[in-house]
């Protein structure tokens, strides 16, 4: 290895205090400099940190944004999520391949540009979209590709080098009273500080506010468990790793009102007795980092963070932003904590729950971005105000990230209890054959269920809402969801690691018109096994694209099933091609 690499690594490791827990930041910084993390660099990091190389490899090999081999100076990551495909991603992909003369997964011979696919980057409302060295390009048309490539080649990508291509739009379509209303910095914190932490938690209890990530755990309960749990220190973590395909509400919060979220984190810190908060931001949203750091700096200047927050003697609280590196699973709270500790993002077994043993095995409250915004508002306007909105078990408003076949995709703040029908009307979707509620891990519902309500007691959701128009091949969309789970399974447990792959293979056979009723039965058995036996939410929900369409769209499956008793797993002609090409033999007339 060149000594240059070793020096780069040593400097970076020193910058992060030789702290093993900061391996994520170290790896990100090294990768930014070297473009890859080879086995040699792994060894250099391990040496500098004084840990085992296998630990470093374990961690760095886990995240999609770390490459083991040298890649191009610029990597163009085109998002291949379902909505992207619906909005013409294939044509854009072709244009990239033609313009650069390489395929996806390859690097141009001059070493300048690599092409990669990446799962949902939170831009489904502006698809097709791509990440180019941290910069986000949206609404890409095939005719834009040449100018993008030119801008990359001339190094002008980051200073307005491409005029024709859009960058991210906030795309807030409908503001509501809770998240996107005018707001005064510090109002919520001051109110909280005028009360005891217990009373703050009690206020959340009165507001009946539940977690906005989708699971809907009561916030007051989480904070209360965390506060009461014993530990050397308590922590607050805000989960900004929104990775569910089709969701982008946090992006809009972080663009429009990050202050509200930081405010909520600070209140959470006060409520659970934490001095340190972490904001875990998905790697795909790196473009937001400079702005968010500015916001944090301003809050420190205003006395809203740091020692004696708002002049409250003894309440010290600060926030560090932790960037991720491309792993959907890190949206799972215990996986996120592992990642925060500088490890692979593998979820933990529960119990113990993070509120008992979280970051560094200390009590930790992990909350969704939107939930913490709600908390800040509840402090500001009171529980009664908040619980007057929504339904009995789902108070307040919900942000929906709406994309797919509709006239006005974007983020909508709606009251809980709104029917799917109303939502479709609101966004101008007139011919929906199906709506994916809560993303791939949620459920795919049919028109017969459009009268149902979005709320925890009926259709719970983290917000991802994908609309499929009548002409879409719905099962092909489900296949793409299954592929997503194969890519994103962390691999810790057998049923999810292997099961998601078998699920996809069995589903493909059916989709290719080579499936029998018996194959369908086996598919369902695999789906139920993965759902029941998997360790965390990813595996437990990965079969949902299959299971919910089986329930709601049985006719689509009937149409694909063949009447045969049995169809071989492979095609004989295909299976003979290789040998024929090696030996020069001609296929025999096989009577079958």
């Amino acid at each position: 290895m060149s000594d240059d690499y070793r020096k780069v690594v040593q400097e970076i490791v020193a910058k992060f205090g030789k702290d093993r827990k900061r391996l994520m930041d170290i790896a990100r910084a090294v990768h930014a400099k070297t473009g890859h993390i080879s086995e040699e660099i792994v060894g250099a990091i391990a040496d500098a940190l004084g840990c085992h190389r296998v630990e470093v490899r374990d961690m760095t090999s886990f995240y999609a944004f770390f490459s083991r081999e040298p890649k191009g100076a610029t990597t163009i990551r085109l998002c291949n999520a379902v909505v992207e495909r619906m909005k013409g991603m294939d044509a854009v992909a072709n244009a990239f391949e033609e313009t650069l003369g390489i395929r996806f997964g390859e690097t141009t011979p001059d070493g300048l540009i690599s092409l990669e696919y990446t799962p949902c980057i939170g831009m489904s409302d502006q698809a097709p979209a791509a990440l180019v060295n941290g910069k986000v390009l949206t609404n890409i048309r095939p005719e834009d590709v040449k100018s993008i490539v030119d801008a990359v080649r001339s190094g002008k990508l980051h200073d307005g080098g491409i005029v024709s291509v859009k960058s991210v739009e906030s795309n807030l379509q409908q503001a509501g009273p809770v998240i996107f209303a005018p707001f005064e910095r510090g109002a919520g914190i001051r109110k909280a500080l005028s009360m005891s932490p217990e009373d703050v938690i009690n206020e959340m209890n009165k507001a009946r506010v539940r977690g906005r990530g989708g699971a809907g755990f009561p916030l007051a309960m989480k904070w209360s468990f965390c506060r009461k749990a014993e530990g050397e220190a308590h922590y607050v973590v805000c989960n900004g790793d929104e990775g569910e395909p089709g969701t982008f509400k946090d992006r809009v919060i972080l663009t429009e009102c990050p202050d509200l979220m930081f405010e909520g984190m600070t209140i959470a810190g006060y409520a659970v007795g934490a001095k340190q908060g972490f904001f875990y931001l998905r790697g795909e949203y790196e473009y937001l980092l400079p702005y968010l750091e500015q916001v944090l700096a301003k809050r420190r200047r205003m006395g809203l963070l740091g020692e004696n927050v708002c002049g409250a003697e003894g309440f010290d609280f600060d926030i560090r932003i932790q960037m991720g590196a491309g792993a959907y699973i890190c949206g799972e709270e215990s996986a996120l904590i592992e990642s925060l500790e500088g490890k692979r993002g593998a979820p933990r077994d529960r119990p113990p729950f993070p509120v008992q043993k979280g970051y560094l095995d200390r009590p930790t409250s992990v909350n969704n971005v939107e939930t913490l915004c709600c908390a800040a508002r509840i402090m500001e306007h009171g529980a009664e105000w908040f619980s007057s909105m929504g339904t009995k078990d789902s108070t307040g408003t919900k942000l929906l990230s709406i994309s797919g076949d509709c006239q006005a995709p974007g983020v909508y703040e709606v009251e809980y209890g709104i029917t799917v029908e109303k939502v479709l009307e609101m966004v101008g979707a007139t011919d929906a054959q199906a709506v994916q509620i809560g993303g791939p891990s949620g459920q795919c519902i049919a028109p017969k269920d459009f009268g149902r309500s979005i709320c925890f007691e009926d259709l719970p959701t983290g917000g991802s809402t994908i609309i499929f128009g009548k002409d879409r091949d719905l099962l092909a969309c489900m296949e793409s969801f299954l592929e997503f789970f194969v890519e994103e399974s962390c691999g810790w447990c057998a049923p999810c690691r292997a099961g998601t792959t078998f699920l996809k293979m069995q589903f493909e056979k059916l989709l290719q018109g080579r499936g029998t009723r018996e194959d369908l039965k086996k598919l369902e058995e695999t789906a139920n096994t993965v759902k029941f036996m998997s360790r965390c939410g990813l595996g437990q929900t990965a079969p949902n694209p299959v299971l919910t369409t089986l329930r709601n769209f049985p006719a689509l499956y009937e149409a694909r099933i063949q009447p045969d008793d049995f169809i071989p797993a492979f095609d004989l002609k295909e299976a003979l091609k290789e040998a024929c090409s090696i030996t020069g033999q001609k296929p025999h007339d096989v009577e079958v």
Binding site: R53, F62, E487, A494, R497, A498, S534
Partner: protein, 237 residues
């Protein structure tokens, strides 16, 4: 650790457990066998294989990690769970490249024995047939990843004995066992006497030069199902 006891019910039978135990530990002590692959006594449980999944108050949970508490109602030996466990074991067979007739661990292999116990006659899931790397660089130990089920027992055993010879690499279906050396096992401080070198439930991580020594018929699981030792140790009274 607290000496308080709690009572739990497994398949309708009440058993006494020590507070702080997991369901699996309590079941072992009571002579109730819960099938498992990645659990190894004395190591921190990993929760990888999920074969020890039971129903706790009606919901699935891995018994190797779930702590006992008063009044838990657990389902273990049911047809539903046996089928689910068998499917997971089948997945492990189809995921790797397990050729029992050509494997020196045959007869002593926990994966194979588990499949026998759960009544697996064939693997009907599609075999993945992916090439996997063999590491025979170490003088006394080899790794044949074709036979790896990613139970992590070697990694946990190594960590428990103050070394860090093994870890994981990659994610999802591409995850594999990794070693703490740039060019293989020989560069690690693994010794044949380490518990880590003997922690593997399959034929993946094996000591060299001891294969095929025990005749067929006398191997560990030739005549007695895996778990018999636990089932035979019914506590007095």
């Amino acid at each position: 650790m607290s000496k308080n006891t709690v009572n739990i019910i497994i398949d309708g039978v009440e058993i006494e457990a020590q507070e702080g135990q997991t369901i699996l530990q309590a079941a072992d002590d009571a002579g109730v066998y819960i099938p498992r692959l990645c659990y190894l006594k004395g190591l921190i449980p990993g929760g990888h294989c999920r074969v020890c999944t039971v129903k706790v108050n009606g919901r699935p949970a891995s018994s190797c990690t779930f702590p006992v508490s008063e009044g838990l109602v657990i389902e273990n030996d049911t047809e539903e769970l046996t089928t689910l466990r068998r499917t997971v074991v089948e997945m492990l067979f189809a995921e790797g490249n397990h050729v029992c007739p050509a494997c020196e661990a045959s007869g002593n292999c926990e994966l194979q024995a588990m499949a026998y116990r759960l009544g697996m006659l064939a693997v009907t899931l599609p075999f993945l047939r992916k090439p996997r790397e063999l590491d025979a660089t170490h003088p006394d130990v080899f790794i044949d990843r074709d036979r790896c089920i990613l139970c992590g027992r070697c990694a946990r055993a190594s960590e428990a004995e103050g070394k860090r010879v093994f870890g994981f690499e990659g994610r999802g279906i591409n995850k594999r066992i990794a070693v703490d050396g740039e060019h293989g096992l020989k560069e690690t401080d693994l010794k044949a006497a380490d518990r880590a070198a003997r922690a593997c439930p399959t034929g993946c991580l094996r000591l060299k030069r001891i294969g095929w020594k025990v005749p067929v018929g006398q191997r560990q699981y030739d005549t007695t199902p895996i778990g018999s030792d636990i089932e035979q140790k019914q506590p007095v009274g």
